[in-house]
Symmetry: C2
Subunit: 286 residues, 2 copies
């Protein structure tokens, strides 16, 4: 596959959390593999939007004729890192008909009464769909680890359960792309401050954002553990520098395009006799 | 509210199915209220996309602070009329986070075992959401009437049940916009033929499309009855000429913008002490 314009290396290759990966060593304010500037990034994002849209349409079309493939993008990040921007600007380029977005919030009492994967299973994409998890089952090994809501044994059980769950999805035809948007605490502070200076953004600010922020090092440890335990061959993690929003969007878009492109999607031929239907159409009257 | 560029009258005013409305008298290949051409229509659609996107964001933002408002777009039409294009090009301009799209297909056995509204109620938008029904409970008084799957008495019961259901939604805060895309049988034939000439569109064609087409007059009668019975003050029908796709998209966008604009949406102030939070941010360290 040739590289998209502006790229010297593919972000999917550069940003995978493979064996020995160290979160602490990753840059947040960089644009790995991209030689252009912010404006070039915006151009690339716009130019590649029809590509991801068409790939998704082919995925959807195949499913109408028995295709079992689907895609699941899992987004995790600290507050303000830009999950919403990925949803709006990358996922937003795809026909809404083919998107199944689930935003996972703090679990309800009913959800808490069940195993942590109970609410996640029904949210998995059906064939042809582009599923998106805005937060996910990873909260159960992130915030739960940070605040001690699950002990070490329970966390181990959850990592294993997650790997098994994701392996099941992959076996059923789902391509899983897991993305952690890696923002720096300094950049987060600026973004929170910006929300308090713009009346159209006041609603996005919550005083609890500053409370969670105090646990930054603990969160980074929890993420490192997540990558160690769950960045598998069948469902790898990509850690995307997110201080430059324009880079993060473009990189996630390319990672998704590569994942979809690897599915060898085709336009279905249709399950009817083309010549016969053309003839029927010629004779069609009301 | 001033008219959007290119419009001499607002499509919401021109296209409402009010008392005495006659579907048979409506044009399909017209652009009511719009003085421009196709290219102007595309410009208007693009220019107004950020307007509908912002209104939806405000709707969503209000709901985070107790707002109960939501919007529901109901789309009905003959095959190929362009429902998918409305979803892709009008709804697609809105942040996916705020959209709840439901595509109603032929009911499952479980759904058939319940009242026809059983599967529809849970699909209604929650506060802050822009709900979209691609087909809807109206199939139960359209295809069911055309094929005689419901007798006259049952159809009457359903019209009443629909009006009560929609009145409940409105009372709970939902603004309902019902759109019938009005395509001509001649234009439909061309679009079906085009699908059989383009390998990227084969998958959209089904031989049953031609079978349903034979019932065109019966469908038009069923639609007329729907407008007579269910185009209410609280949930009016708009009948949008759809032979020109560019007009239909633009008109539906403007009808939605007017509906959202009428909700007097505001950016929420936030439920915290602004000065205090700004001070906390200044002292925030990791």
């Amino acid at each position: 596959m040739s590289l998209p314009i502006g790229f010297t290396e593919h972000p999917a290759d550069l940003l995978t959390a493979g064996p020995g990966f160290s979160l602490a060593e990753q840059p947040t304010n960089a644009a790995p593999g991209f030689s252009g500037k912010k404006a070039d990034g915006a151009d690339t994002l716009a130019a590649r939007a029809p590509v991801i849209a068409q790939l998704q349409e082919q995925l959807f079309a195949e499913s109408r004729f028995g295709g079992k493939k689907s895609v699941l993008l899992i987004l995790q990040a600290m507050d303000t890192a830009g999950k919403g921007g990925i949803v709006g600007h990358v996922v937003g380029a795809v026909d809404p008909q083919g998107v199944k977005l689930t935003t996972f919030k703090a679990p309800t009492d009913e959800e808490k009464a069940h195993d942590f994967l109970w609410r996640v299973r029904p949210a998995a994409p059906t064939p042809g769909m582009f599923g998106v998890f805005d937060r996910s089952h990873y909260e159960d090994v992130l915030i739960h680890r940070v605040h001690g809501w699950a002990d070490a044994g329970e966390l181990e059980r959850r990592y294993e359960a997650i790997n098994e769950f994701e392996a099941e999805l992959v076996a059923a035809g789902t391509t899983i792309v897991k993305v952690m948007l890696n923002v720096s605490p300094e950049e987060q502070l600026q973004r929170l401050a910006a929300r308090l200076e713009d009346p159209t953004k006041y609603w996005k600010y919550s005083p609890t954002d500053l409370d969670e922020r105090k646990f930054w090092p603990e969160y980074m440890e929890a993420y490192q553990r997540v990558f160690d335990k769950t960045s598998t061959g069948h469902a790898p993690w990509y850690v995307v520098p997110a201080d430059k929003k324009w880079y993060a969007r473009m990189a996630v878009q390319e990672i998704l395009i590569k994942a979809l492109g690897g599915l060898n999607l085709q336009w279905p031929a249709g399950n009817y006799d083309l010549a016969k239907e053309r003839a029927r159409l010629k004779d069609a009257v009301i």
